[in-house]
Symmetry: C3
């Protein structure tokens, strides 16, 4: 099964070995595929249809409910029904875990963590104390939830660490990629909103809050106290400085550096971030700077000296 | 308890639900708070005072000294008194660990590592062979200390790996964030100076040396052989190329790319890094490049053609 | 033993405490060292010679073959001879591992993974389902191979996740640094070519393919569907957007942002990436933008108003 996402890929049809295709709403393309004897389905959003179709054929690895005998579970923990707890998992006192949740091997969960239902923690991830993880969340391998805030005050004797009395909240449906880190605050909470997805090696500092249905792609970094609205999309390697407020539906293209607030609906690029259309103009001119500079030197010489 | 860090936050006082506040040295503000019936303390450095106050109310999770029966400890290891070694910790031969150190579950420590007193290793971190970690250090989850140098020599048969006979030194009081990596060198040592703090997903390559009381915030990367002076602050996503020497008290703002040496006391920004004041001017002009370009085209046409 | 890599370091000879040196092919330097009574060897590629010499003196830690009794190995797994499997390793059903491979403590390997001969998996790394890892590979601590693709389709109800039915292939001789992540695709494979080396905190998204003998240094990020030719070198913090095709022998300097295809043999820099020579010119002018802007304002005033 394969997917023809955009009409421009139509030219590649002659090479396909797929026996079934997901097509856009394009009658001539559909006719062509029919003539080639390939089964197809079509929809307004072919990638979504493809993703839906894929679930008919493939289900990810999910172990059967069991508590492995090597797991080390504090007697004061509360574990729901139909749970999988893999080998060498360590669960400290006061932890609560909802039904049908799946804790893969070698995960460590610190005291007083709460985890909802149908959530998956992949191998080798770590949950620090008091984190609250919702239902239907996915935490990928080596991710760390609830680590200490990076807050140090300068003194004559060197850095003085602020302790992190706060905690992290992941609302329902949040996904956190491999090797990502979400830090808890000195006071209060760091909150990732419902159904927001984080890629790999993302770093979220203390007191950040994201809205619902955001997507933060690989290697994004948010400094302390950043607020994101709903449906914000930050592409790979984007960075946002502390206390910035980003409105609903903002899109930042890869490697954008955001040094301040961004209005709802804006699409921003560059370092420092500007409107994407302006960035595209600047980028074109940036390549012509040496040529501009030559003219500039002549002009300067002709008119000012 | 909350903290009013700067006078500009004074306008938010009417919203606070705090029953105690840390205030700056501002008499009118203090009067206002007193009238509202809220307890307060005040100091020249309110954030520091707040951090100090927090320790009266909150202590982070620290398990009682015990060696968990599932820990796998080589008989040739030397373990000090009053140590916590959590479940599934693996300690190889020749390791020495000082008193009151806390090794959380699922940590792995390779041969001949030395760890001082009162140090904390959080769950799932890994210490490669011969690393020397001081006293009062904190290593967060999934951090890796002492991994192989990334040194490969090009040959006609492909990359030839230089083995890493050196080791990593973390001096006393060093803190290493989650998912950070410090690489040991081919020969010699990689050294993080006393009381220096690293955030999450920081990468320190072979042979780097930092001074004391530096702060390297999340996602900073140092290439091989970089030297930092004392009290250097590198904000998030800063990168420094190999062999650069950075003087005492240098500050680099977020995402700065440093391609060479930086003089002591400089504050740098941008890519390539320049003095921060120059960067701010450049950034303002960068946004006006399209406008400049239009004028440039007219001038060019009028005067040279 | 030490290495004098370039002739410019010759001035440091008087400070060396080394008892043996690796020198470039420089007769006067060789005479000087001989007179100082220091042993030396010399070659056209001194760093390579140094790396080769180092192997005579130093071998990294490699445990003797043994299967630790705490390892949890599914009965349906197939394990070759002379293998080391450390404490707390978890190996699921259907896994196949070749002879003389070394699986360090606390590694987790999901179902149906295949691993070749003489490969090393360092502590705390995680291999997701169906990954195929070749022979003579090295996977460093906390690296994750084969995690879910970051593919979510927007719907009115929020993000809809595409399941990842594909898998990751690491060909022979691949090395993956600490805390790096390689994601498997929705359909098909993500492939790292023979003898390609990845540094720490590198992120490779779904469906990427690299050629042979590439080097991707720390914190590099490749978005989905990126193709790299052979011998491509990407320096630290480089990012490449999705679907870009990068030719053989391309070099990208640190923090370069590549937003499209790059021709074979090109050396690129900057954001957006341009030819390195052009970048150096642009960078020089970038620092003079404030001065240009002053002249520009005068010209504009004189000639257009």
């Amino acid at each position: 099964m394969s997917c023809i996402e955009e009409d421009k890929f139509a030219s590649k049809i002659h090479q396909t070995k797929a026996r079934a295709l997901v097509l856009p709403r394009n009658p001539s393309l559909q006719n062509l595929i029919t003539k080639k004897g390939i089964a197809w389905v079509s929809g307004y959003q072919p990638r979504l249809l493809f993703a839906q179709s894929l679930r008919l054929f493939y289900q990810p690895f999910q172990p059967s409910p069991i508590i492995h005998p090597t797991a080390v579970i504090a007697p004061e923990a509360t574990i729901g029904k139909d749970i999988y707890i893999g080998a060498n998992v360590v669960i400290h006192r006061g932890v609560k875990i909802g039904v049908r949740t799946c804790i893969h091997p070698n995960v460590v969960i610190a005291p007083d963590v709460e985890i909802g239902e149908n959530t998956i923690l992949h191998p080798n991830c770590t949950i620090y104390e008091r984190s609250k993880i919702g239902s239907h969340c996915v935490i990928h391998s080596s991710a760390v939830i609830g680590a200490d805030a990076f807050i140090f005050e300068a003194t004559l004797q060197g850095w003085y660490k602020m302790y992190s009395s706060g905690y992290v909240v992941l609302e329902d449906g949040v996904e956190v990629g491999c090797n990502s880190t979400i830090e808890r605050p000195g006071v209060g909470e760091t909150c990732i909103g419902k159904n927001t997805k984080l890629g790999s090696s993302v770093v979220i500092a203390h007191n950040c809050q994201t809205g619902e249905n955001c997507a933060l792609i690989g290697q994004v970094g948010l400094a302390g106290d950043v607020k994101l609205g709903n449906r914000v999309v930050l592409a790979g390697q984007v960075g946002i400085t502390n206390q910035a407020q980003i409105g609903d539906d903002v899109i930042a293209t890869p490697k954008t550096s955001i040094f301040g607030d961004v209005q709802p609906g804006a699409e921003v690029s560059g370092s420092p971030a500007v409107d994407k259309r302006l960035y595209l103009k600047i980028s074109a001119i940036y390549k012509r700077l040496p040529e501009m500079y030559e003219v500039f030197k002549k002009l300067k010489k002709n008119f000012f000296y």
